[in-house]
């Protein structure tokens, strides 16, 4: 007798769920004083900051707007703004 079991074979398939819709504030990467330290990349709980060479941005499909990146950026080069539609 075959029984259904809870096996998920697609790694990272949570990406089907775009958590960006949760956001009330959005990080704006100013690209002015970035010193390429990548602290924002390190501290984002959701791991949604990408880029290279002092040019980083949040993937807004997934960013939940927690504000940690802006809070931790030592150069104050990220600003949280209210999400308006």
């Amino acid at each position: 007798m075959s029984k259904p079991v809870g096996i998920v074979t697609k790694p990272g398939s949570s990406k089907a769920n775009k958590t960006g819709s949760w956001r009330t504030t959005r990080p704006v990467f100013l690209h002015k004083d970035c010193n390429d330290c990548r602290i924002c990349v390190m501290v984002c709980p959701d791991g949604v900051i990408f880029g290279s060479d002092s040019s980083y941005d949040a993937d807004l499909d997934y960013c939940k707007g927690c504000g940690i990146c802006a809070r931790e950026c030592p150069k104050e080069d990220i600003e949280m703004v209210l999400e308006v539609k």
Partner: protein, 305 residues
């Protein structure tokens, strides 16, 4: 122009082994720690995870945020499930180069799962156990656990006219783990991400059972602002309330010193709603003194200044 010859090349940022799209609250310290831990461990890793926020937010069927081999155990037995995996791999002669991680929340680890965990230590499995310490049963609505701190308000240790919140202090789980004679025990925090990743790498380089306890601020259960997650983690360390250190073969080998950065406990308590009641009445001052005593005790014991 930037002198590209002098600048150290960094490859572009790649997606984590814990993918986005998961349902952790905005600013979740547990999600942050899990992501950092997975990226430090690397893709040759098998993970068993107990029931709790980490499991629930990462695997709403049929999706999974995990990009490594991952299994959901019961609430109490990720250590036993991982032990089976480790023994199975050895029986097949396929254990080389594979990391095995068992993990769970503080409730799963300090309370219901402590028996299975003790057995895993006793039998000497080559497994890293990680306790995500958000200091209560978050996934079921913030009930107190053996790792909930003194005077914290939870749904089963409510503060009010007859109580200041949780009446007990944190169970000394790192010391209980070390008393099993295991080779490596460490305490880390989402507040110091590089230190956390170094401890994961160090642990995985050692053969035998390892215990890593990670302090993970929970904006929902602790009632702090989501953007403060890292700061709250750091403040726990800087006040002496959550010392971070390493132990090898039962001896403390490394501690993060506070030096002049040391802060009074109020700095940590004040931004968190779970300690709000301590500031609402004048008698709360006496309670804060008791919490300062706990911090002073840690500072003395671990030589933090």
């Amino acid at each position: 122009m930037v002198d590209t010859a002098k600048k150290k090349e960094k490859p572009p940022v790649v997606e984590s082994l814990l993918a986005p799209g998961h349902r952790a609250c905005a600013g979740c310290g547990e999600a942050l720690a899990a992501r950092l831990i997975m990226d430090a461990a690397g893709s040759n890793t098998i993970v068993a995870t107990t029931t709790g926020c980490l499991e629930v937010f990462s695997t709403p069927y049929p999706e999974s945020a995990w990009k490594v081999a991952w299994i959901h155990s019961l609430f109490e037995n990720s250590s036993a499930v991982a032990a089976g995996i480790e023994v199975g791999l050895r029986a097949l002669g396929r254990e080389a180069g594979i990391n095995i991680i068992a993990q769970g929340g503080d409730g799963a680890t300090a309370d219901i799962g402590i028996g299975c965990l003790s057995g895993m230590f006793e039998r000497g499995h080559n497994i890293l156990y990680i306790c995500y310490d958000n200091e209560a049963y978050m996934n079921t609505g913030v009930q107190r656990s053996g790792l909930t701190p003194f005077d914290s308000h939870t749904s089963t240790s409510p503060s009010g006219s007859v109580s200041w919140g949780n009446p007990t202090e944190k169970k000394p789980l790192p010391q209980i783990a070390a008393a099993h004679g295991i080779p490596y025990v460490a305490v880390a925090t989402a507040g110091y991400p590089v230190d956390l990743q170094n401890k994961v790498k160090r642990a995985l380089s050692i053969k035998g059972p390892k215990y890593l306890q990670v302090h993970v601020p929970c904006p929902l259960g602790w009632a702090h602002k989501p953007e403060d997650t890292i700061e709250i983690g750091r403040l726990a360390v800087l006040t002496g309330l959550y010392p971070i250190y390493e132990m090898e073969n039962g001896e403390v080998t490394k501690v993060r010193k506070l030096g002049k950065k040391r802060l009074p406990v109020e700095a940590y308590l004040k931004p968190q709603g779970r300690f709000r009641h301590l500031f609402a009445k004048p008698e709360g001052k006496e309670e804060i003194k008791r919490i300062q005593k706990i911090a002073d005790g840690n500072i003395e014991r671990f030589g933090l200044v």
